[in-house]
């Protein structure tokens, strides 16, 4: 049995604070003379999704005899759960038996989040290394199974962590400014009504998410999605994206909601007036004599058989979801990112694409049914084109400025690269090893 390392959330050596929080001590993380690397990283907090992450394990107090071990979930009753694979293409297993060489050589394997069992708190999942003969726990490594979730179903903790991260980014004005300047009037022709609409917005949502996940903010958050064809009363609430607006569309926030401090170009607060009853209805736009529902998920997913038909979803449900409000920045392309709801809307747009890809098996970029820049492609639509603004290109026909610089990279090799191409974001689940973008949706499996 390895030595016991107690890990307690204790900010200032204040036992009174812990007692006040009524949080029981975290399960001790057992450490022994072993090293588990996840996505090449042997230390620090680990974050995975459904898509496979490459791992390795080795003995660190070599030389010694070879060791027969079993890898399993740290706690199967709670927290994010994982599956194991001995090789990239092998079957999922709940446990994995390995023999660790006594000379300290690493043994490779893969893990992925177990579909349907994501984490709700940071590092609530993990790997336990047990002795094959005695079942004694030899070593552990915590991790989080981190996926994008339905915003209406978040726990209070998940919701508040996301809001705090989002508002923190907004408060660091130059950083959020990038997202305003990348989706303004000058960018309109670059990012809308063209084949690369979906790939560009996938990279855009990922860019915001990676900003939120930097160590300075909160690596445990993802961008949740607004499932806009369903009633979402918890989203349109003073504790989340704002409650029922007043007569001029000003949405109220509760005293504890970080979005109270949302500021855009020196103007505080958020305005947004839904055309529909947010408590009882999915999104609807005003059709004149009555409200019209945005295109449902089922109908959207039935678009096909290929890309040429699916990309019509830009009009409905994307454009219609934006314009199911009668007032507020969200309804105009030049101002849409001024409303924090923008990224939840686009997380859902991207999720619909992801779900369609999974349903139709559309990850192979050599197949025009997966993606096609036709019939009238422009620069930025071709698979090998790098995407503005991350490519820094400002020569016509690109927009005149390219805010923000390259796309934030993960701490290990991954896609998309710092100047993402259209192709980089299509096989986002890494069907081909090495392609993974390392984000996932709670209701979109990867197999």
């Amino acid at each position: 049995m390895g030595s016991l390392t107690r890990t307690i959330k204790n900010l200032f050596g204040n036992p009174g604070l812990d007692k006040a929080r009524k949080i029981p001590p975290a399960l001790p993380v057992i450490t022994g003379p072993f090293e588990i690397s996840i996505n090449t990283l042997s230390s620090g907090n680990a974050y995975i999704g459904w898509t496979l992450s490459s791992c390795s394990i080795r003995i660190t107090n070599q030389p010694q005899a070879n060791r027969d071990v079993i890898l399993k979930n740290r706690d199967t009753s709670t927290g994010g759960q994982i599956i194991f694979r001995s090789a990239f293409g092998s079957a999922n297993q709940d446990t994995l038996s390995l023999t660790l060489p006594g000379d300290g050589s690493p043994v490779n394997f893969f893990i992925g989040g177990k579909f349907g069992f994501p984490s709700t708190d940071d590092q609530d999942g993990g790997i336990s290394l047990t002795d094959a003969a005695t079942s004694g726990v030899l070593h552990q490594r915590t991790l989080m199974v981190r996926v994008r979730k339905n915003a209406n179903n978040l726990t209070v903790g998940e919701r508040d962590r996301f809001l705090h991260a989002y508002a923190t980014l907004n408060a660091a004005t130059p950083d959020y400014q990038v997202f305003l300047d990348s989706h303004n009037a000058a960018a309109a022709n670059e990012i809308h009504h063209r084949p690369s609409f979906l790939p560009w917005h996938r990279a855009f949502v990922l860019s915001l998410e990676r900003h939120l996940q930097t160590i300075a903010i909160d690596p445990s958050v993802t961008i949740p999605y607004w499932h806009f064809d369903q009633p979402s009363p918890k989203i349109f609430d003073p504790d989340f994206m704002g409650g029922t607006p007043n007569s001029v569309g000003r949405v109220p926030f509760s005293g504890t909601n970080p979005l109270r401090n949302w500021t855009i170009f020196g103007v505080t607060g958020v305005t947004r007036r839904p055309s529909f009853n947010t408590a009882t209805s999915g999104a609807q736009w005003d059709g004149g004599t009555g409200l019209v529902a945005v295109q449902s998920e089922a109908v959207t997913l039935a678009l096909g058989p290929g890309w040429a038909q699916f990309e019509d979803m830009e009009l409905d449900p994307h454009d219609t979801a934006h314009t199911c409000f009668s007032s507020g920045p969200l309804i105009s392309p030049a101002t849409a990112t001024q409303d924090p709801l923008f990224f939840l809307l686009h997380s859902n747009i991207d999720r619909l694409w992801a779900k369609w890809q999974q349903k139709m098996n559309r990850y192979d970029t050599s197949n025009t049914a997966t993606y096609s820049p036709q019939p009238a492609p422009a620069i930025g639509d071709f698979l090998t084109d790098t995407m503005w603004p991350w490519n820094g290109v400002t020569a016509s026909p690109r927009p005149p400025t390219a805010p923000g610089g390259p796309l934030i990279q993960l701490a290990f090799p991954s896609k998309p690269g710092p100047t993402p191409t259209v192709a980089d974001v299509i096989d986002y689940i890494g069907k081909t090893q090495g392609n993974s973008n390392y984000f996932d949706y709670d209701d979109v499996p990867v197999s």
């Binding site: 006040a20 508002a167 408060a171 001029v248 994307h318």
Partner: protein, 333 residues
Amino acid sequence: MPNEDEHLESVQDKLKARQEQNESGLSDFTKARNAIEYKAALQQIRSLSDPEAVKKAIELLKNKQEDVTVRSLVLQKALSSIGKNLEYIRDCLSILQDKTDRIEMRKGAFSVLKVFSFGSKLFVSLRPEYMAILRSLLDDPDTNLREMAAEELAKDKDEFVQRRLLDGLTKQEAPIISDAKAIQLLGYDIHAEYYPAVRRLLQSSESDDVTKLEAIHVLANDPESKQLLVNMMLDKKQDKELRMSSVAAVQSGHPRDFVQIAKALVLDESESTDMRTVCLNALTLVHPTEKAALHEDQQFLEKVSRLHTLTKSPELKRMSLRYLESAGRHRKQ
């Protein structure tokens, strides 16, 4: 509970039924001759795409004598086809600006034009025409249309509407929309020249709270409003929401001063829990330039920790914990 295959089959069956319904509706629409028949047919159709049927539908749309529900259904069902045809989009523009047409049709046309502003490549070429029509709507008899037109123009930083809004606020001409909405729309392109008028409205006893609230939100960056906003924040006799909104405005516009004021307010036990909560909230989000000094204040941290232990207010308890966690995370970096 059906398994995944059964669910998929059920969805596919529903979609097939919908497709058949669409085809049946299209056939009925082709044969329809009166409003009752048009309505019944269009209600079955999910999306009208057959070119001849769309052509017929557009004629119904343009006919002001036609039943308004039929015309509205055409807008809804032929949305995609309209967005791909320059002439059909122009027809929508004509409806929008036609003061003699039914208001529901004009608003319906406005809705679809906003949809196209996102996703129709053809709409881009009609944008100047669209903006000119919006300017003409600023004098429309319908309040909603005036407001929606003003908002679209304001988002585009249109100087014509900015001038009209400001003239309305300063009573140099009859306002086209309420003062509160005018202030809000001027906020899309806030200039120093608007500040004096907005400041006057915030200080005026004749302004209602809705107007004052909008004024607070846009005055955050006005140096001459700083004391006004601070006074509002500290005035316990002021309306609760106005005070709480002033907190964000002072925090955003004057972060250094805000930190000292907010810390004192948080620790003031005679202050309302709402204000103490909102101030702590804003303190967790101060600008990075102020964060280091704030989080080094060990005395304040200990007082917030004690506040967390002793307060009976769930909001204040939650907020003080978040503040401590935020400070702890920052100190670890």
